[in-house]
């Protein structure tokens, strides 16, 4: 069983991502409704993947990616950015900070599923 941490402030999008992951087998999800919450629950268990939004109220996705990449405990974790088409530039910045992939909202479930499986396989 692999554990995926979903960081996203919109409950709807969170539920959507969760539902998409639920369609795959072999994954369980943990959710954080803000960057702060993610920082809190990161040390609590092992994760295999982080899926994060960029625009969030407390710390944004880029700051979270930067934190994860610069902490030896988590630096190996693959990160997928899920963000709107408005955040093209931010996505590029996220990739530059070391995110593994990105998906643009609104996304098709197959699209996200493929990216998750591909990211975890590599």
């Amino acid at each position: 069983m692999k554990t995926i941490l979903i960081v996203e402030d919109s409950a709807t999008t969170r539920a959507l991502i969760r539902a998409v992951i639920d369609e795959l087998s072999g994954y369980e999800t943990v959710e954080a409704s803000s960057g702060f919450e993610a920082l809190k629950i990161l040390p609590q268990q092992q994760y295999d993947l982080i899926i994060t939004d960029i625009n969030m109220p407390d710390i944004n996705g880029l700051e979270l990616i930067n934190f994860v990449r610069n902490n030896p405990r988590y630096s190996h974790l693959p990160i997928i950015i899920v963000s709107t088409e408005r955040s093209e530039e931010d996505k590029k910045r996220g990739m530059a900070l070391g995110a593994s992939a990105y998906v643009t909202k609104p996304f098709k479930s197959v699209e996200l599923q493929e990216i998750i499986e591909k990211t975890l396989a590599s």
């Binding site: 539902a19 639920d22 960057g35 702060f36 625009n55 710390i59 700051e63 955040s87 931010d90 910045r93």
Partner: protein
């Protein structure tokens, strides 16, 4: 227009109203410094409008709000500077949007909006001025620059452009409490400037702690910032505002004045034509309806008093014309009050489909969790139920559904072996039955193992092991308090909740649960609820010295019973009602009251089907409308009472909990002496 479309129109109008307020705020503040939150809020409002109109296929509204969202994105990222021309342009487009929504509300044809879109596109191109060549890269470390979003970078430039100083506060907090501590600190920073970026870090930070680098812009001197924020602060670039500010004010003063006098007048003119809303719906807090119902309840009591006065007047004054007038007005009052009550109750009704769709989501998710294939079938979604009741039964229904999914539906292999199709089916069905709504949760699973239930019931001392019970009696033990076996009932997320809680909850709402089961064919739980709570009709009865109220909705008929017709069969008292045996319950004995030994007494028949019993009372007084009030925390545990009610002349009587009475008496009659 269907109701969801109406709801869209109502929401769209709310959003347009909010947009108008935001644009007005932008107009008032753009010359003195707009709060970036206002611009963001307008951006989000357009985004939301785009989303909801898209759901309803309103192309025009969707496209136009999308174009305006893009425009606001330019504004919020500083690509377009806010000027009077921008404000007027926003107002103009808000008007066009309002026209489109209005047309949608009237089911009119959608206007062609290509020209408006082009207009917005051209406007954006004209307005886009380049941000002043300020290079934050010169003062800010690349490791920080890299982490800024485009928006944060824009705010950074804007702060520099305004001549504010840029600072970096470095704080370390314990990991368990950092969010409150950090919230305090950012609150302080925001009171003295603008927080641009909150960068968490784990380098040079002890274990169990987390560090934050907070970048902010401010005009305050460093010493003051250090004193207030109380952590190490690095200066990234110094403030120049103190010198620049007065000059800017003198220059901009007159311009600002001219702009603000022109603005509102122009706006007023454009909006007059659209002041009238096309939506006829309002959203009301259910509490407000509760208050109206309470008032109606009080009025009902007053009406009862007027009626009583009428009766007393007849006794003292005979049938004079005054008395007749009182009689007439009482009738009118009665009629209008019940109309009023019905209308308010109708407002509170919602289709049960609202909660079905929520349950469907959970079923889908939970099925995956436990590795079963489950098809969900729903019937009767349009069945209406009081909003309060609908919300209250979500949890009990969820519990029943999870129970069916965990213990009813078998794993795919097992189903295959039994010759069933691999995916199980859960059926949700709602329908109205008289004054009640029945919600069924059915599954085509293994059925409840009655032997196990029976064993458990004996183990728990609920029945003696030599008592022979019928299937339907055995299966009902799953609702007994504390009756939870792993094989029969599951916990909801390990909270140790059994079926008894479902039953208790339903009972508190004036309903009850029933179950039928067949080995390998599945089980069906039936939840029966009154359609509304609020005011109910009750029969006032007397046993010895005490009066009670029996809700009419739980009784089917009343009988006059001769003592000699009550027979005793195997210790049970029964009465033959139209050839069928009806178990009798002496309510006086039940509550330990001194009943009367009359030759004739009155029986109230309650319950349906196999749970039908006759309750014996000494006297029946007649119907009364009552408002059931809770007995409060201390008396809550008393068995047999659903609450208390006032029946005029400040007299308070207890309302019988018929379901509890039936349960207890059936247990006692079955010889289950331990209960």
């Amino acid at each position: 227009m269907n109701s969801s479309r109406k709801e869209f129109i109502a929401e769209a109008e709310d959003l347009l109203q909010e947009s108008q307020n935001l644009i007005l705020e932008i107009q008032d503040t753009y010359s003195t410094g707009i709060n970036p939150d206002t611009i963001n809020a307008l951006f989000r409002t357009m985004h939301t409008l785009k989303g909801v109109s898209g759901l309803f296929g309103l192309q025009g509204v969707t496209k136009l709000s999308h174009a305006l969202e893009t425009l606001m994105d330019d504004v919020r990222l500083g690509r377009i500077e806010v000027k009077e021309s921008v404000v007027s342009f926003l107002f103009k487009n808000l008007d066009i949007l309002r026209g489109l929504v209005e047309a949608a509300g009237n089911d009119g044809e959608e206007e062609d909006i290509a020209a408006y879109l082009k207009d917005i596109e051209n406007f954006r191109n004209r307005q886009k001025d380049q941000e002043e060549a300020i290079s934050p890269e010169a003062v800010i470390d690349p490791s920080i620059m890299r982490v800024l979003t485009e928006y944060e970078e824009h705010r950074l430039r804007a702060n520099m452009k305004d001549g504010k100083g840029l600072y970096l506060a470095k704080a370390v907090f314990s990991l368990d409490i950092f969010d409150t501590a950090l919230a305090n600190m950012t609150g302080t920073i925001k009171s003295m400037g603008e927080l641009i970026s909150t960068l968490p870090t784990s380098s040079n930070v002890p274990d169990g702690s987390i560090g934050f680098n907070l970048m902010f812009g401010s005009n305050r001197p460093l010493a003051e910032l250090k004193k207030e924020i109380n952590v190490d602060i690095d200066i990234l670039s110094e403030s120049r505002t103190a010198k620049a500010a007065p000059a800017a004010l003198i220059e901009e003063g007159p311009v600002e004045k001219a702009a603000s006098t022109v603005g509102p007048v122009a706006v007023q003119k454009i909006q007059d034509s659209h002041l009238k809303s096309t939506s006829t719906t309002v959203r009301v807090d259910i509490e407000k309806l509760d208050r109206i119902l309470n008032t109606i309840g009080e009025l009902t009591l007053a009406k009862g008093a007027v009626r009583r006065i009428g009766v007393e007047l007849v006794e003292t004054c005979g049938h004079s014309s005054l008395v007749q007038d009182v009689h007439k007005i009482t009738q009118t009052l009665e009629k209008r009050l019940s109309e009023l009550q019905e209308q308010v109750l109708e407002i509170r009704m919602v289709p049960i489909g609202q909660i079905f769709s929520r349950l469907a989501q959970i079923v889908r998710r939970y099925a995956r969790e436990i590795g079963k294939q489950i098809d969900l079938v729903m019937y009767g979604e349009e069945t209406e139920l009081d909003k309060f009741l609908a919300e209250e039964i979500v949890d009990p229904l969820m519990h029943l559904i999870r129970n069916s999914m965990d213990h009813g539906i078998e794993m795919p292999e097992e189903r295959k072996a039994k010759g069933k199709k691999e995916s199980g089916t859960i059926t949700l069905k709602a329908y109205q039955k008289g004054n009640h709504v029945v919600v069924e949760v059915g599954d085509d699973g293994a059925g409840i193992n009655l032997d196990k239930v029976r064993k458990k019931a004996i183990e728990k001392g609920l029945i003696d092991d030599d008592v022979e019970l019928e299937q339907k009696d055995i299966v009902n033990f799953i609702f007994a308090p504390g009756f939870s076996t792993k094989d029969v009932v599951t916990d909801i997320s390990g909270r140790g909740v059994g079926m008894d809680v479902v039953k208790e909850k339903l009972s508190a709402l004036g309903g009850f649960a029933d179950v039928t089961t067949k080995t390998d064919a599945g089980s069906t739980f039936m939840v029966t609820l009154p359609i509304t709570l609020a005011i109910i009709k009750a029969l006032i009865v007397r046993v010895g010295p005490e009066q009670f109220a029996v809700p009419l909705s739980s009784m089917s008929e009343t009988l006059i019973v001769e003592q000699k017709d009550i027979r005793t069969i195997e210790w049970k008292e029964v009465y033959y009602l139209r050839g069928e045996m009806l178990p009798m319950v002496r309510v006086s004995r039940f509550f330990g009251l001194q009943g009367e030994d009359n030759e004739r007494s009155f029986a109230v028949v309650v319950g349906f089907g196999e749970r039908r019993v006759g309750l014996l009372f000494d006297e029946l007084y007649g119907q009364h409308e009552i408002v059931i009030k809770s007995l409060g925390e201390y008396l809550k545990k008393l068995r047999g009472f659903a609450g208390a009610a006032e029946i005029g002349k400040h007299e308070v009587i207890l309302v019988l909990d018929i379901e509890a009475l039936i349960d207890e008496s059936l247990f006692r009659q079955k010889g289950a002496v331990h209960v």
